[in-house]
């Protein structure tokens, strides 16, 4: 498809602006822009057709099955979209809540935030939440900064963070960004090996970052022992909430021994992924860490809810305001709609769907670990690679031609040619059966017609792209015609 810039024609205009009703003003000549920005000039119909056309090149949950492991691509309910766009919420300037006289004009928004914090505390068992982190990875960074604040306060000098070898890439990246060194701990039978863990545990360890169930879809069965050992050396337990969808109502991170938790509202709580954001990554803590939470905190005063900036032990401001409010509204509405029973049923059906796939796919495909899973299941295409030179990537591309979005590939790193499948709870049995049938066709093709798989996808606007060329000859923006 042509780019906007290629469609541009001088003199075309879309947006209409009011005529000047005040005297014109002049910007001083020496401060004016010399070269124009060369933005496209198009009519509104052209803009609408362009983006409508682009959308039709895309695949979303609204189009079809999207079983990306650890991403929880569940259906995004439409009533939440409406909620976030309500004029009293979408038009509100954030600074209003911070000026005298603005309190009475923002009680609705502040109440929503307070209720959401309360809901998340009940769901996770934690004592306090901050809604400020703007994404899951941002929540991780915030959580690690809270960890660091805790140790500073205790006079502990800690430099290490332990993670399982199956950890998501953001875990070590976040720890490193906060100045810690990361030490991986090996797994045994798919879960963190408690003996290996205790061997690496010492008084240099600030904390342990885990997700449960882990990236293999397995409950970390040794958690009680791991948490106890960690707490004995005053190391903190951090829960990466990416996989919370599996245990809603069945286990609470606080009761599993975790001290800090981050949640991904765009995963577990149904807010849309947006093609890569915006998300939200609220962080919950146990009472003894609450003093370190970022400012401002919500507080109750005689006149209603207020913002408290006077928190001497706080790590400070990690976001410009109170979080991605427009995303928080959607999660709040989602939780209201599902309620306690509904959230529990989410976990039940997420796990039901994943195990159904595990059993049915397991007839032709090699499951990474032969035991029941929770909300996601990992397969390996290593046997296909050895026998027919068909890799996980080939399987993924072939699935696109079958009308599905591929699962996550090559993650977790501990499984060769990994295919990580998370169906979520919002898929029908028929969809799952269709997916299994497609995977059977691919297994057949691997044996009888591997070249067909290697050529996939052929039903998309473009085939496999030259990613090496893209990296070697970087073209990341269209150069304007007369650019310096």
């Amino acid at each position: 498809m042509k780019t906007l810039f290629e469609r541009s024609r001088p003199g075309r205009r879309a947006a209409s602006l009011p005529a000047l009703d005040v005297p014109q003003a002049q910007a001083p000549q020496n401060l004016r822009r010399q070269s124009p920005p060369q933005l496209p000039e198009l009519s509104e119909v052209e803009v609408v057709r362009h983006f409508t056309g682009l959308s039709r090149l895309n695949f979303g949950v609204d189009v079809g099955f999207y079983p990306l492991g650890s991403c929880t691509m569940k259906y995004n309910p439409k009533f939440t979209e409406e909620a976030a766009r309500l004029p009293g919420l979408a038009d509100l300037h954030p600074l209003l809540a911070q000026i005298e006289g603005g309190g009475p004009l923002t009680q609705g928004a502040l109440t929503l935030l307070a209720e959401l914090e309360e809901q998340l505390c009940r769901i996770t068992g934690m004592d306090a939440f901050t809604l400020q982190p703007l994404a899951g990875a941002h929540g991780e960074l915030t959580g690690i900064m809270l960890m660091a604040a805790y140790h500073r306060r205790r006079g502990n000098k800690r430099s290490l963070v332990l993670v399982p070898d199956s950890a998501h890439g953001t875990n070590p990246a976040s720890a490193a960004m906060a100045g810690y060194q990361v030490v991986p701990v090996p797994s045994k039978d798919g879960v963190m090996d408690p003996e290996a863990f205790e061997a690496k545990l010492n008084d240099q360890v600030a904390g342990v970052m885990m997700t449960c169930p882990n990236t293999l879809g397995l409950f970390e069965t040794h958690l009680a022992r791991i948490a106890e050992a960690a707490h004995r050396v005053d190391a903190l337990m951090y829960y990466d909430g990416a996989n919370l969808n599996a245990i809603l109502g069945y286990a609470k991170p606080a009761e599993l021994g975790f001290d800090i938790v981050h949640l991904n509202l765009h995963k577990t709580f149904g807010t849309p992924h947006g093609g890569g954001g915006p998300g939200a990554g609220p962080v919950g803590v146990v009472e003894r860490l609450a003093g370190f939470l970022p400012v401002p905190r919500l507080a109750r005063a005689a006149e209603g809810l207020t913002l408290d900036f006077d928190r001497p032990e706080s790590i400070g401001r990690i976001a410009p305001f109170y979080g991605n409010f427009g995303v928080l509204v959607k999660a709040y509405a989602y939780i209201l709609a599902l309620g306690g029973e509904g959230l529990k049923r989410v976990a039940e059906h997420a796990v039901l769907n994943a195990n159904y796939l595990r059993v049915k796919l397991g007839r032709r495909w090699q499951v990474a670990l032969d035991k029941p899973c929770l909300h996601e299941v990992v397969f390996s295409a290593a046997d296909k690679l050895a026998a027919h030179h068909i890799s996980a990537m080939d399987v993924a591309k072939a699935l696109i031609d079958e009308g599905f979005h591929p699962p996550t590939v090559y993650f977790p790193l501990v499984v060769k040619e990994a295919l990580m499948i998370e169906p979520t709870e919002t898929e029908t049995r028929e969809t799952l059966d269709e997916f299994v049938a497609a995977m059977e066709r691919i297994a057949d093709a691997a044996e009888t017609d591997p070249d067909k798989l290697k050529a996939a996808p052929v039903t998309t606007p473009v085939g496999r792209l030259d990613e090496v060329g893209a990296a070697r000859n970087l073209d990341v923006a269209l150069a304007p015609k007369c650019f310096g």
């Binding site: 090149l57 990306l68 500073r152 029908t428």
Partner: protein
């Protein structure tokens, strides 16, 4: 209300396939001692009931306020087409475009967004977005630190105080020296900038709405081999000198003014553009243009090896989700306004603010604090403390501006007033009359 499509029949058949008798058996791997001891949330509501509750909450907030409040986040006009296009399910229910062939919509739009940001800022490479202007500022500072291997950062005091607070939080334990100083011209850099300085961070227009030519300051940074970093207001770039024209190495800022609602603090949009030689040091996703096996043009994520999912602890940042849908909104906004429209919006802002200054400066007891030139925001000093006056005007449906005392001790009588293209002459007159009546 829930969204699980399973019938009892489905459940029975599926459990049978798995070889289990009940849903509860699915959770046998959770040791009994680790099971939830309680589960205490209100029951779920139907759609009309949720809708009512949200409307109730929305109704408890300000409605129809005439807004002169800015401070980095502005009440700008957003054409209806932006939201209409953003609401297409193929865009907003998609994930990060890791499987390029089935995500060309997202990928091409990011490439176009990158192009638009490059052209707006006059720099050569942009990323797919960061969370907001404040985290973008921190990321730029870290780029300077990594690139120069120096540990000192020089930040102008008229950079948004919210961003300076965020920077202090993020750098607290990184063994860096962050110096905040009033930098108005090249001369004020003497004695401040040296060969230990990794980067110089300035904002234009600054927090008080003043417009500068940062060229001389950035030239001085270059002399010391420090990176020149500019935090900017994208709408102002329709009219004023771009970061590229002023010699910036990195441009960043808040993209909220490009088609994003105020939405009580987010989601917003951090944009960043850099000179070509810094592209590999830039955090965030980057989309590249390439071809497929048949020579057809396509787009894919590139330079991913810098990112967390490959580089892990050596990653340039830990960013995973960015603000893709917000970047799309900004792109759609810029396409609808186009080159001439953007200039016109900037001129409207300039003119309306000039008119407001003229009216307010004429009021007895009020005076302009600065000399200008300005873009669309300016400080006035009131005869008394600003907060109580602003509070009284809020009751009348007028948000007169930001009282500066909370962010700048000593400036309790100062008010920061923003005037966008949405403010009519009548509204500005009303502000002047209201201030006159109260002062």
């Amino acid at each position: 209300m829930d969204f699980m499509p399973h019938t009892d029949q489905d459940r029975r058949a599926m459990l049978a396939e798995i070889g289990l008798g009940s849903l509860a058996e699915l959770f046998e791997s959770i040791p009994p001692g680790l099971r939830a001891r309680s589960w205490d949330l209100a029951p779920g509501l139907s759609e009309p009931e949720v809708s009512r509750r949200l409307q109730e909450l929305a109704g408890l907030n300000a409605r129809g306020l005439t807004c002169f409040l800015g401070a980095g986040f502005y009440d700008h006009f957003i054409p209806a087409a932006v939201d209409a296009l953003l609401s297409r399910g193929e865009f907003y229910t998609a994930y990060t475009p890791y499987q390029a062939e089935t995500s060309q919509g997202t990928l091409q739009s990011i490439y176009e967004y990158q192009t638009a940001i490059c052209r707006l800022t006059g720099l050569e490479a942009a990323n797919a977005s960061l969370y907001d202007g404040g985290t973008a500022l921190f990321e730029a500072a870290m780029m300077a630190v990594r690139r120069t291997r120096r540990r000192k950062l020089l930040v102008g005091a008229s950079v948004n105080p919210i961003y300076r607070a965020m920077l202090r939080t993020y750098t607290a334990n990184l063994d860096l020296e962050v110096v905040e100083a009033e930098v108005l011209d090249r001369g004020s850099l003497d004695g401040l900038i040296d060969d230990k300085t990794a980067g110089l961070i300035l904002q234009n227009p600054d927090f008080f709405g003043r417009v500068h030519d940062l060229g001389p300051c950035f030239a001085k940074a270059a002399e010391h081999k420090a990176l020149a970093i500019m935090s900017c207001y994208p709408l102002a770039l329709g009219l004023f000198k771009s970061p590229g024209e002023m010699g910036a190495d990195i441009a960043l800022g808040e993209g909220q003014s490009l088609g994003l609602p105020l939405s009580f603090g987010g989601p917003y949009l951090g944009f960043m553009a850099v000179k070509k030689d810094l592209i590999r040091a830039m955090p965030g996703r980057v989309v590249g243009r390439t071809v497929d096996g048949q020579g057809r043009v396509g787009y894919c994520l590139t330079l991913q090896t810098r990112e967390q999912h490959i580089r892990r602890e050596k990653a340039t940042s830990n960013i995973c989700t960015n603000q893709a849908l917000c970047a799309l909104a900004a792109l759609i906004y810029l396409s609808l306004l186009g080159e001439t429209g953007l200039k016109e919006v900037a001129e409207l802002n300039l003119a309306k603010a000039a008119y407001a200054r003229q009216r307010l400066a004429a009021l007895p007891g009020l005076r302009l604090v600065d000399e200008g030139p300005w873009f669309n925001e300016f400080r006035v000093e009131l005869p008394q403390e600003a907060e109580p006056i602003v509070a009284r005007l809020l009751e009348k449906g007028l948000a007169a501006g930001l009282p500066l005392g909370r962010y700048y001790p000593g400036q309790e009588r100062n008010l920061l007033v923003a005037v966008t293209e949405k403010r009519t002459r009548a509204e500005i007159d009303r502000l002047a009359e209201a201030l006159e009546a109260l002062s």
